[in-house]
């Protein structure tokens, strides 16, 4: 589903964000991207969205080299990728229903699709009774669930999450993770960048660790920090 071939990225100010990364992520996989701040996790996700271009190497999504897409095709690429962020990025003047519907309206889906899909997805994230509320009337966990609903309402092939639990308490993190797992079970590939050690350790999913732009670990059923596993 996602393939990095010797990808390197250096920003204009000289910061080397990714160095010679090669990896494959299969359809339906759940991958944790871990590493300290500045290790290149966000760059990794931005490359997948084609918000940035690699300096070297190429990135394939669903078998296509996304570097070769013409600029006007980029929006269509993004329709296959859902995104969730640490800061939710909801529109403050739209209610829950409208925020989720916006993702469908923004790509020109007809009203009938909006009216059938949005309640369905709101039920999935458990916010049916809050659909008329504005974001500021919700808790952080609820807001993030709205954001997940928005990312998933279009049934993308890939879901990217950039520290989705970064602003949440453990129990809310828990419910977000449960949601992401559920989405993953529908066959959606999930790539999640995170700092949350407890989560990663408990989930036992594939872990890719970055350090200063280099991939130092790719473990099928990993934990957050490998050395902590052996320290007794």
């Amino acid at each position: 589903m996602i393939r990095f071939e010797n990808v390197s990225k250096t920003y204009k100010n000289g910061t080397s964000a990714l160095k010679d990364i090669s990896l494959d992520i299969e359809k339906g996989e759940f991958v944790f991207l871990v590493g300290a701040s500045g290790s290149g996790k966000t760059t990794f996700l931005r490359l997948l969205l084609r918000e940035e271009h690699p300096d070297q190497g190429r990135i394939l999504e669903a078998g296509r080299d996304i570097g070769e897409l013409p600029k006007w095709r980029v929006p269509y690429l993004r329709r296959n990728i859902g995104c969730v962020f640490q800061d939710f990025r909801l529109l403050p003047n739209k209610n829950v229903f409208e925020n989720v519907a916006f993702a469908l309206e923004g790509i020109g889906r007809p009203r009938s699709t909006v009216e059938s899909q949005v309640p369905q997805i709101l039920e999935l994230v458990g916010l049916t009774d809050k659909s008329k509320n504005l974001p500021h009337e919700l808790s952080g966990g609820e807001q993030q669930r709205v954001a997940v609903a928005r990312a998933f309402v279009n049934r993308p092939l890939i879901l990217l999450a950039d520290e989705p639990t970064g602003n949440l308490d453990p129990s809310n993190s828990e419910s977000i993770m449960a949601l992401l797992e559920r989405i993953n079970r529908t066959g959606t590939t999930v790539v999640m960048a995170t700092h949350d050690k407890a989560l990663v350790d408990r989930m036992r999913r594939r872990v890719v660790e970055l350090d200063k732009g280099e991939m130092i670990r790719d473990q099928v059923r990993g934990v957050y920090g490998i050395d902590e596993g052996v320290s007794l």
Partner: protein, 284 residues
Amino acid sequence: MRVYFRYAFKETFSNLWRNRMMTIAAVLTVAVSLSLVGSALLLKQSAAQASAQWQQGTRVTVWMQPTASSSEINGIRTQLANLPIVKSCVFYTQAQDYKEALQLLPPSESDVLKVTDMPSSFRCIPTVPSDAFVVESTFATQPGVYKVTAPEQQIREMNRAIRILQIVFLALAAVLLLSATVLILNTIRMAIFARRREVSVMKLVGATNWFIRIPYITEGFIQGLLGSIVAMLAVTALHTWYPLHNEFQLNTSALVGTNAVVLIVGVVIGSVGSAIAIRRFLDV
């Protein structure tokens, strides 16, 4: 498609309403500048028409000396008759000219005038209006001729005055049109800036650039359109009330043409201004 139509419509009008002060400023600037452009165009057309009409009836008047002998008068008459550039001539005797002068001059001046002071004259119509000058240069120095006058000179001066006026109008209009474009650009930029979160979310979910762009371009288009409607009203009012004299009165087709120019310039300015404004925000 229908969904998008509704969406674009809603976005456009909520943007216009949200930035209504800037919208009013932009619309008024467009209106003022386009009114000037329209007036300049009308002025040009009506001046051209008036001078054509005057020239149609151009007369060259050959004034004889009051003391000119009848042989001198006859000599001029024959020459005028043989000159191909002169279409026709009418001879006014001293008595006829005196009568005309009495009508034209105020009593204080005409009272001291005597018939014998009056020159007799030939009122001639040249075949081609611009030949009036040739007639003037040919006859001014002939014996018995007092003076040759042609209105050509006045027409020329009038035309020059109108041309200068027109240049001033157009220069003003150009400056104002530029400021109108910048104002529209600025309103759109503000509108986009106010909604940058929405724009970024739209880009994130995969909205195409045109999808995002069209409401803003429509907004600029409407600002230009409103401005040009006001300007068209002003131009029409000018067309109706300004004519000092029948000769300046233009027909309706000239008005329609001018209004069409005003309308097109207005909507182009609006659309182009907003298209420029939005470019920077949509870089992927």
